[in-house]
């Protein structure tokens, strides 16, 4: 292809309205200097020798022709944007989990992952919640913030949390019962190390605030007389 220009070309033919240019074809011929190019090449436009086409593989006739014409769906090139994070959720906010195994636990928000889910940690030593993903909708954001500056979160993304793909084992008669025994999966050591690394500086900043550690260790629950729509979190 031709060499790329440093700045994109601005059209020399401004639009009067959409679809109608200011200058006619003959005027544009003169503006673009096509007469000068012709003069330089002796009255003819320069023609490049056709570049040799890369040899394409010989196409085989398809094995199968469908009986009826099938409509192809329209091309869709839209890319979804990252889920909008509520303004009250910033790195270091204490969140209350509303559903799942850790319902009611107060956890520290770390960052938003590319899938839109929130990366969250207990810290594990304080309330047993590991590095985990959670959806924004199942969370109440409190106005309590923890200092999160000493934590490096670059290595965590959605691929880190993907399930391990098991290799398919051939099932023999005798192996059926043995395969059941190794069902319990152990957490790999490097994930434990990651948890400790993230929690180390977090716990230090949490212990700097009085009562915050006990607060994170306790679960949230609605008591008698508490009206959620009147509570300030």
């Amino acid at each position: 292809m031709a060499a790329k220009r440093k700045t994109p070309v601005k059209s020399r033919n401004p639009d009067l309205i959409r679809g109608v240019g200011k200058y006619s074809r003959s005027k544009m011929y003169h503006k673009r200097g096509l007469w000068a190019i012709k003069a330089k090449h002796g009255g003819v436009f320069p023609r490049h020798a056709p570049q040799p086409k890369a040899p394409t593989a010989a196409e085989k006739p398809p094995k199968f022709y469908p009986a009826d014409d099938v409509k192809k769906p329209l091309l869709n090139k839209r890319k979804p944007k990252l889920t909008k994070l509520r303004a009250s959720i910033t790195p270091g906010t204490v969140l209350i989990l509303l559903a799942g195994r850790f319902m009611g636990k107060r956890v520290v928000f770390l960052k938003q992952l590319p899938s839109g889910l929130l990366l969250v940690t207990g810290p594990f030593k304080i309330n047993g919640v590991p590095l985990r993903r959670v959806n924004q909708s199942y969370v109440i954001a409190t106005s309590t913030k923890v200092d999160i500056s000493g934590v490096n979160l670059d290595k965590f993304d959605d691929k880190y949390f993907a399930k391990e793909v098991e290799k398919k084992k051939k099932k023999g008669e005798g192996e059926f019962f043995e395969a059941e025994k190794e069902d319990k999966k152990k957490l790999p050591e490097d994930k434990k190390e990651d948890q400790k690394a993230v929690d180390a500086s977090l716990i230090k900043s949490i212990e700097g605030v009085p009562d915050l550690k006990a607060y994170l260790a306790a679960r949230f629950s609605l008591k008698s007389g508490m009206k959620p729509h009147e509570l300030a979190f």
């Binding site: 204490v94 107060r106 409190t142 309590t144 009147e230 509570l231 300030a232």
Partner: protein, 134 residues
């Protein structure tokens, strides 16, 4: 039981309904049987139904429909703000507002403090009981 708080010019009242809920206002004039002209340092003077007002004990000395400046001076002289905040009614309202604005963390700290206080009280009680029984 005679009435003690009268609608009069200079009576300070608390608004209990509407856009200005919770504000202290001064009655500067009476429009008719149901409505009063009401003014406060931070609002435009306007009419309000008596049903929206709860009278307080505080009165100030003003002429009928004073200028805003006069009103503010009179309120400073009578020290309405401090009288209100030191009265038991005013103090209750302040506590209610504070309780409503408590954070989740604040509520947790409050719970710990209550438990601690109850523990201390119970210890003292046990001590007193022991002294009495022996």
């Amino acid at each position: 039981m005679p009435f003690k708080r009268y609608v009069e010019i200079g009576r300070v009242a608390l608004v209990n309904y509407g856009k200005d809920y919770g504000k202290l206002v001064v009655i500067v004039d009476v429009v008719d049987q149901n409505r009063a002209l009401v003014d406060a340092p931070d609002m435009v003077r306007g009419q309000m139904n008596f049903k929206r007002l709860t009278l307080t004990d505080i009165t100030i000395d003003i002429p009928r429909v004073p200028k805003k400046k006069t009103l503010i001076e009179a309120m400073e002289k009578a020290d309405v703000k401090n009288k209100w905040e030191n009265s038991s009614w005013g103090r209750k309202l302040i506590v209610q507002k504070r309780r409503a604005s408590l954070n989740d963390f604040d509520r947790f700290k409050l719970m710990l403090a209550k438990i601690k206080r109850a523990g201390i009280v119970r210890q003292e009680l046990a001590k007193l009981k022991k002294e009495n029984s022996s």
